[in-house]
Assembly symmetry: C2
Homo-oligomer: 330 residues x 2
């Protein structure tokens, strides 16, 4: 298994990305193909005394920034580390790609360099949120601001395939994001999508799921347009950050609080870990022909390692074959 890693994208690139890649090569037994400025990458490796076992470097000088126009990846920035990583993936030089860079560019490159699976109308960006007793995939969370019913239907199929084959959830529950549980709730698009999802025999559609269901685990796949999904995802992230801040205040101020903190330290750490999106890795780019993971822009080495782990699960899984079959035989 070889994972192609865009070494030059992300807030802490190349240092944290290269360190994350080396960590993955060491701990996960995968081969890593680092794409980026070889001199800079070697410098990071030397400075951090990283072993180059199972690590290859593909030298390229350009990078694509967060400010660059996403479509530039198809033109003047095709030679950027992200553009090259996706081209190498398309050409079969690795099994999956990971990048912490410009989301729009990764979507454009994924769709137009790696290309969509036949039958897929639109690729989706699907982050996975840790929640009560498991994980919930939110699909879409930003790739498609507005969606047609058949797009939402396909998101349900794609999300189900991922959660089944990559996350090994038996018969994943697919829910449609809505402002009420009744079938008649929601916009016209959502009502039509509900009817389409209900008819499918190849997924376990559990009907409408309200916002509460995301964190309380009423479904494994939460289907919505990218506008809604992005807002729901980030609302939860914001709440998570606030809670951690508040817990710090509870435990760090005062003598008794500090004793209490010592007494429950392990449990609080476990709670924090169980809600930390960095433990999951990144968002999945679904609907294209090869596995691509979008790691958080602010990823550190450990998050990159987790994203690589996720890319491995994705590549091992049979997710893409299952999507292809479902969308062409239904």
């Amino acid at each position: 298994m070889k994972i192609i890693l865009d070494a030059m994208s992300g807030d802490f690139a190349p240092t944290e990305i290269v360190k994350g890649g080396a960590l993955a090569a060491k701990e996960l037994g995968v081969e890593i193909l680092l794409v980026g400025n070889e001199d800079e990458i070697r410098k990071v490796m030397t400075e951090n005394a990283l072993s180059d076992e199972n690590i290859e470097i593909y030298d390229c000088k350009e990078t694509i920034s967060m400010e660059d126009d996403p479509t530039s990846i198809l033109k003047e920035k095709k030679g950027s580390s992200m553009g090259v990583a996706l081209t190498l993936l398309k050409d079969g030089k690795g099994d999956a790609a990971v990048s912490a860079g410009n989301t729009g560019a990764l979507l454009a490159g994924g769709t137009l360099i790696v290309k969509r699976i036949p039958g897929v109308t639109r690729a989706a960006l699907a982050p996975i949120l840790p929640r009560k007793n498991g994980k919930t995939m939110i699909i879409d969370a930003g790739a498609n601001t507005e969606c047609r019913p058949e797009m939402l239907e396909q998101f349900g199929v794609m999300g189900s395939a991922y959660m089944k084959y990559a996350e090994h959830i038996e018969n994943p529950k697919v829910g449609l994001a809505n402002n009420g549980s009744e079938e008649t709730k929601g916009t016209e698009v959502v009502i039509e999508a509900h009817n389409a999802l209900k008819k499918r025999k190849d997924i376990n559609f559990v009907g409408n799921v309200e916002g509460r269901g995301v964190m309380l685990g009423e479904c494994d796949v939460f289907v919505c347009d990218g506008f809604t999904g992005n807002l729901v995802l980030k609302s939860c992230e914001g709440f998570g950050l606030l809670i951690m801040e508040m817990l710090k205040e509870v435990f760090l101020k005062g003598f008794f609080s500090k004793i209490a903190a010592l007494l429950v330290l392990k449990k609080i750490k476990k709670l924090k870990k169980s809600l930390d999106y960095k433990e999951v890795g990144g968002a999945v780019l679904l609907g294209i022909k090869k596995p691509v993971i979008k790691a958080h822009g602010n990823s550190d080495a450990k998050t990159i390692k987790n994203a690589i782990k996720q890319a491995r699960r994705f590549a091992e899984g049979g997710v893409i074959k299952s999507i292809e079959d479902a969308l062409n035989n239904n």
Copy 2:
């Protein structure tokens, strides 16, 4: 100040509603006009030894249930406790109304019995969420599934008026819910709404606010369509419930955990209280001629008291006059 209270609606009506009304009459110094079945109300008062000081009862036999068609409040259910409460409000028999009943019916009754403020296109249901250092109003959160740009613009104006006059926030920050901070982000409707809000000189528009901003307090008024608002609100509620469950697990199992719990009990209670929507009261129905508060369906006496407190702030405030002026002079 007289608050009209629909005594027969809500999961724990009439008991908790009547108790909440009596609590408010006693603690807040307001007069309460209880609307509902007088025999049942008197029975609750006797059984709970509640004083009838500052409490009046308006007898009516019917109720509207959660299963009733919302528009029935205008026809066969006009004589229900909710219908009568709204009619009494319209007729000036009280300063504000509170109900924990069928949201759709309250919206229909609010709009068509109490009637909209001239110039208002649609009434909105606006819950107020406790968050970091304050409260955020989400407007709309369920009354209008799909919105036109001018509706979102008006929601900004109405929310700003409420947070200024009823919650006494100076120059409340109005943000537009979006999947990115750039002006070009979002659906066409949202982009148009952004331009309209930006032009208004009578509100403090802070631009697009992403999901994270809701709980982290980037704005006081979070403007969105009812579909998005409902999903964001309930995602946060779900997360809140999950956190409380997880904290219980941290503190209730094991000897050391119980000691820790004792040491930080006050602080944890404070944390819980600061995130508890029951402390806020209910959702505000904005855009109609009189103050109406929708209390949570599962309200207990204390929540009802808080909803009455909120209704008092709303009625004292000058909110409605401000909305009328803003929408007719701009």
